[in-house]
Amino acid sequence: MKNKLTRVAITGIGMITPLGLDTHSTWEALLQKRSGVSRIRSFDASGFTTQIAAEVKNFQPQHFIKNKKILKSTTLPIQFALAAAEEALQDANIRPTSSTDKRWGVVIGSSMMSAEFSYWQDFHRQFAKEGQLDIKTFYKNSFNYSSPSEFSKMQSNTAVGLLAELHQIFGYAMSVHTACASGGQALGLGLQAIRRQDADYVLAGGFDSMINPTGVSGFCLLGAMSTSNDHPESASRPFDRLRNGFVLGEGAAILVLESWEKAKARGARIYAELAGEGNTLSAYRITDSHPSGDGAIQAIQTALRDANLHLENIDYINAHGTSTQMNDLCESNAIKSVFAERAKKIPISSTKSQLGHLISAAGAVEGAISALAIHHSKIPMTLNQENPDPACDLDFVAEGPRNVSLTAVLSNSFGFGGTNNCLAFKNPLADEVTL
């Protein structure tokens, strides 16, 4: 049964991250042990308990988006997605044509933020000076106020609509949001869409930015973020005893997923096979998973089964690794539970140590990194893991990136709300028989 499934190739990768405005510079910066975290520059965060984040630097939207109308009707995070998608298509060296456009799909893990902070400041000034909406003033001006281009910025599926329009995609279209698992879920849905032959090609990924006063406020209120404001570069320290919360990041990653036959037939460069996904609910608490790893365990096991992989095939795990005590403990325990004695032998790293937590984009960015790890035979490190947490006693690749040829890789993403996603990637050169 498994053998009959259409295999899925990753043939294009596009990224906008705190470490670079494309895939190459992001990957190089990861290998150079750089941190994308610094004091927040995009707004005055000096009054907040957390004043640091991993921001995308020097992004000039007009450089990436030539269509002025689209530029005007998009927010920064959507622009990240459009820019990353363009890079992915160029990288894959394929685009929808009139004979293939119905066979293309688009699946995006979308940011939860709707209106921008500047919108709310303006809304407050005009209609809610005293802190509550003055409905009568609002009625009087609502028509002048409610422009369609502003409204299109706030739709949860705007990125999907614009990607379809820009690239003339006429097939499957999906927008999902399961908090920090969104990007991973989107890649998983792209995989399923190709397997069930809804599409031969899918633009799949995620985008997000919550680095704005309300986004940062939400996490400050919960006390979930690191407050190491004086040491931004060492603030994100997954699996380290001295961690004190996650660091918010922003950006996008979009991949071109392609049916194996199509990719092979055109001689495409295949970074990796997207070979399986596991997708479960923790059914425990909104913000935490069960410390035992329950929920995450089933996600990893399902991904392995779905990809037809055995425990001994896995030679790298890109961890969710948020640098919060609960996640790091739960994730370590999940890996130990699934892999038993082999757990300690598998290199595991959290690239959030360098990139921060890109929320809805995280799973897509880390999926891209997993494919690049296979392609380049290199494992990125966990930065800042200087004081190993005894409860997380696994190999977190703390000393620096490693050169290793990889057969199969897992990438974990666990979200607020309890959705757990695990993706499995295979080396395109790996012989099916040896697995």
Binding site: G47, W120, H124, S156, G161, S175, V176, S217, N279, F416
Partner: protein, 418 residues
């Protein structure tokens, strides 16, 4: 040969009824839930109509009131339908009989069509903005004393998914779809695909939305798609849609799972698909090619022809352009097959529409009637080729096709049967 996917539980909360029985009865009596908006002062406004859930009281809608402080109004509406559908399906008494329910829980999925536009939750920041007097530094410093510490959790777009898991212990495959008005149909379809590939045995599917907010009303009105008069699909006097609140939920199972627990079966999910028409965020293609494509593909997938379809539940949102295009495409594809819609009564419930309309379509098939479009007085000239009626039409066949269209030029279509 893939296994049949059947419906074994139904639940809904709408502007015309607090459950499936009431909602269905209202439809048969040609009652509409559209009236003057009550939840805020709408008197002085031209666009004051909405389809609100009547006598909304969150405390009566959820069995666990403790979680209310962590939920938005949207979430309460969604979870109420979930509770109804699960109760209706009798899943829990069956689970009680199992010695080890772990496998049952892990093979129960949750698929959700969630709202895509929310403003009201951000109102919690308005007092802080006043207090901050334009200073972001002050905004940050006073944050903790003004805004509720759990604010972010209340606004999570995946709360209905999360609490369906937490409350019932369901742990299987899941999606939270935020894709405007096709989210409900897509939730049904993704559940169907997951069931068909055998990774789960049953799924809770829910679509919910609450579009009655001043800013949403204003933006839709400015786009020219809201009517100040009422929702009259395919009528010569149609002039827009009406925003609504509502939720619908289904329990889907593989046939063997339903059979094993001797569950009552209310219908079958045959097949469907989603496609785009790549025309941008708000515009739709006037030639109808996108809609034509999605319906044709759906029939292909279901291995059916238009002759097998008993009636069509159209998107029928009452806007001038969308109804005309839809009427033209349906007339081309289905000749003289009866067409109806439910938004004239429910209002447009966006992410919930696909699920609620699937429930009403299944009940129509069961009772062998095609409910009328109660507000239809004079069929419009540009919609004249479809077979619509103000009162119920008769029905012979046991399959029906449901259409959903959303912003970002996305169309979904589904065939169900009894």
């Amino acid at each position: 040969m893939t296994e049949k996917i059947v419906v074994t539980g139904l639940g809904c909360l709408t502007s015309i009824g607090k459950n499936v029985t009431e909602t269905w009865q209202a439809i048969k009596e040609n009652k509409s839930g559209i009236s003057k908006i009550q939840s805020w002062e709408s008197e002085e406004w031209e666009f004051a109509l909405g389809a609100e859930i009547k006598d909304f009281d969150p405390r009566t809608l959820l069995s666990d009131r403790k979680i209310l402080k962590l939920l938005s109004k949207h979430d309460v509406i969604g979870l109420n339908a979930v509770e109804q559908a699960i109760a209706h399906s009798q899943l829990l008494p069956y689970r009680e009989t199992l010695t080890d329910p772990a496998e049952f829980n892990e093979r129960t999925g949750v698929f959700v069509g969630s709202p895509g536009t929310k403003f009201h939750q951000q109102y919690d920041y308005l007092p802080l903005l006043t207090r901050a007097e334009g200073s972001l530094k002050q905004f940050g410093e006073e944050l903790n004393s003004v805004v509720h510490p759990m604010w972010l959790l209340r606004t999570l777009p995946n709360n209905v998914l999360a609490y369906t898991g937490i409350q019932y212990g369901f742990k299987g495959c899941n999606q939270n779809i935020v894709n405007h008005s096709v989210g409900g149909i897509q939730a049904i379809l993704e559940a169907k695909y997951a069931l068909s590939r055998g990774i789960i045995d049953r799924a809770i599917v829910v679509g919910y939305d609450a579009m009655i907010e001043p800013q949403i009303q204003s933006y839709y009105a400015a786009l020219g798609v809201v009517s100040p008069n009422g929702l009259k699909p395919f009528d010569e006097k149609r002039d827009g849609t009406i925003l609504a609140e509502g939720s619908g939920a289904l329990v889907l199972e593989t046939f063997s799972s339903a059979q094993k627990r001797e569950a009552t079966i209310y219908g079958e999910i045959l097949n469907g698909i989603t496609t785009t028409e790549a025309s941008g965020i708000f515009p739709i293609r006037e030639d109808g090619s996108g809609l034509f494509h999605v319906i044709e593909e759906t029939l292909n997938r279901a291995e059916l022809t238009s002759q097998d379809i008993g009636f069509v539940t159209a998107h029928a949102n009452g806007t001038v352009l969308s109804d005309a295009i839809e009427a033209r495409v349906l007339a081309n594809l289905f000749n003289s097959i009866p067409v109806t819609g439910f938004k004239w009564a429910l209002g447009h419930t966006f992410a919930a529409a696909g699920v609620i309309e699937t429930i009403l379509t299944l009940l129509s098939l069961q009772e062998k009637i095609v409910p009328g479009i109660g507000t239809l007085q004079q069929q419009a000239n540009d919609c004249r080729k479809i077979k619509v009626n103000q009162t119920a039409q008769t029905l012979q066949k046991s399959n029906a096709l449901i259409v959903a269209r959303g912003f970002s030029s996305v169309n979904s279509c589904l065939v169900v049967g009894v």
